[in-house]
Symmetry: C2
Subunit: 116 residues, 2 copies
DNA sequence: CTAATATATGAACAGTTATTCATATATTGA
DNA sequence: TCAATATATGAATAACTGTTCATATATTAG
């Protein structure tokens, strides 16, 4: 650290970083939100919902998983405010909660240079 | 599913979702990238690096963890192209790899209504 | 070359999590 | 009320992952 050519700038950056570091609690909230969208099974659900609201049965078809697994994952996504649920008769229709979700997915795909 | 008021739209959306679902391999790449930024320890490193390039020792100070833990986490972040490394004498300076990273962090904070 | 410093890494343990299976709840139609 | 359909959920197991500890590697000063 001491012999670093940029010791001065780094020290300033480190000091600013320490001063502006979000509280542990907030860091954990953000981390939990990313974790919610970091499993392939949940991500597939989000990719599917980009095409519009769907009820569970359709999501199961779209992602090719089991009803139980999808339901468990939907609960997690909902608990983090990533999807919203709306009862419609016997069915429950799920949708992406807000534009941030789509925006984040698109940024990730841009970063990875994969087509969406 | 059958009795759903929006059966028609949902079925169309489901069909489109199936047709446009990224390959398993791509879904996993995106998921892995999100997973990389979904642990509090790694997220703190990214929050720190928003303030500029830093070498490991400074990152350790900024996030308040151990050298070993930080080094392990940096390797993961680097392997996913989220941070870049540059040797500078005895030190190795890390920096955020591209603008997408900052943009994603900012979107997440906007979604969660927390100040960055 | 040697000592000192900065960073990386392998192994092991503890904690977390996704899926499956079985079952429960809720809504609708008869 | 009863049967059928859609969705949710609890428990259990298997797989994964972050941290720690000890140690290795790399760079520079002397």
């Amino acid at each position: 650290m001491k012999g670093c050519d940029h010791e001065q700038q780094h020290a300033i950056a480190a000091e600013r970083a320490r001063a502006n570091m979000p509280k542990e609690e907030e860091v954990e909230r953000v981390a939990a939100s990313f974790k919610a969208i970091s499993e392939p099974s949940r991500l597939k659900i989000l990719f599917a919902l980009r095409h519009g609201e769907m009820c569970v049965g359709h999501i199961v078809e779209a992602v090719g998983s089991t009803q139980s697994a999808v339901s468990h994952q939907l609960r997690i996504l909902k608990s983090f405010g990533i999807v919203s649920a709306r009862r419609d008769g016997q069915n429950i229709a799920y949708a992406l909660a807000d534009e941030h979700v789509v925006a984040v997915l698109e940024l990730a795909c841009a970063h990875l240079k994969c087509k969406l």
